[in-house]
């Protein structure tokens, strides 16, 4: 791993910024910084969002696991629990449906001139994250750790070699995308 590069703070801020520019550029070219495209996905009439997410996922998975096998990258899976992942995920989904952007595409939507994203979404998300910080101590005590399973990955959970999952998942998702494509969505 490039530990010496990872430790250079200013360089890292620059890399983060550069990666963000590429990410925003790609999201905009993919059309997912548009409310209409995201709502099309949630109303199940336009599968652009799913096509982008799944092709990013399988591409990323093969490369990142390969880098890891070569000792050039480490994984950082997020911990999870029923109380945090499921309840938080559903609350996020409600916001996703009402706003029609997610945090990343929201920043991109502002970049292409959407004022509902800027004046509604950005202000709302800042209020929402602020409220969460306020309620965090109570939520942590009462809900977030219910049904905690930690930073587990599928290969660890199933006790198999990661490549024994990566290959069938890649094949399965490719077939799913092919099916979506042939059904004309």
């Amino acid at each position: 791993m490039l530990r010496r590069v990872h430790e250079k703070k200013k360089l890292q801020l620059g890399i983060g910024f550069g990666a963000g520019i590429l990410f925003g550029f790609l999201l905009q070219k993919g059309g997912v910084t548009n409310y209409d495209v995201i709502l099309g996905q949630l109303l199940l009439t336009d599968f652009t969002v799913v096509k982008i997410m799944l092709s990013a996922m399988i591409t990323g998975m093969v490369g990142v696991y390969l880098l890891r096998s070569l000792g050039l990258a480490a994984l950082h899976p997020k911990p999870g629990s029923f109380g945090s992942t499921v309840i938080g995920g559903l609350l996020f989904g409600v916001g996703f449906g009402l706003l029609g952007y997610c945090p990343g595409t929201l920043a991109g939507a502002v970049g292409q001139g959407a004022l509902d994203a800027f004046l509604g979404g950005i202000i709302g998300i800042l209020i929402g994250t602020g409220l969460f910080a306020q309620f965090f101590p109570t939520l942590e005590k009462k809900i977030l750790n219910k049904g905690f399973w930690g930073e587990v990955t599928w290969p660890e959970l199933l006790r198999v070699n990661p490549w024994g999952l990566i290959l069938p998942i890649t094949l399965g998702i490719s077939l799913l995308l092919f099916w979506i494509e042939t059904s004309g969505r």
Partner: protein, 170 residues
């Protein structure tokens, strides 16, 4: 250059591009792509302007310090990258109300504003509750085969599809 001026790219080109970008961030920065903590940190920074340094004592801001970090720069970059892409293709447009919204609920900005504000609150609250968003869980987490992220991504879409279908019910 023509290619950069196109308004839309194939979703598969975009998806593969984002996947390759994740190789780069894991390799060069030891970080997965994610967007929601940047908003959390910004919220803490704004609160600090009003309430001073005691904001840093909040338990949540001890975990996610209210300062500019890698992910914050990433989100700033997303804004700029989308702006560049939109300017190159001529798709930059100031819009108050998206067209799909307008055809269902009319051109009123105040209605769209209230709903997007409430949506934003849920989005920010839910993202930090679940520990990630559509990029951190939905792409970076699923590609690491993290169990939590697969479940989170499914819940994002269950909540989103349910809400959108309710909103646009005929």
């Amino acid at each position: 250059m023509d290619w950069f001026m196109m308004e839309r790219w194939s979703p598969y080109v975009v998806g593969v591009g984002i996947g390759v970008l994740s190789w780069i961030t894991f390799f060069l920065s030891d970080k997965p792509i994610g967007c929601s903590t940047a908003f959390s940190r910004t919220s803490g920074m704004l609160e600090r302007l009003f309430r001073g340094d005691r904001v840093k004592e909040k338990a949540y801001y001890k975990k996610f310090s209210p300062e500019v970090d890698w992910e914050w720069m990433l989100v700033l970059g997303v804004f700029l990258g989308a702006l560049i892409s939109a300017l190159l293709s001529g798709s930059f447009r100031i819009i108050w109300v998206p067209s799909r919204w307008e055809s269902a609920f009319g051109p009123s900005f105040s209605l769209r504003w209230v709903v997007s504000l409430i949506g934003g609150v849920f989005l920010g609250f839910g993202a930090r509750w679940a520990g990630g968003c559509t990029s951190g869980h939905g792409i970076s987490g699923t590609l690491q085969l993290a169990v939590s992220s697969w479940l989170a991504a499914i819940c994002f879409f269950i909540g989103g599809i349910f809400t959108a279908l309710m909103l646009y019910r005929p």
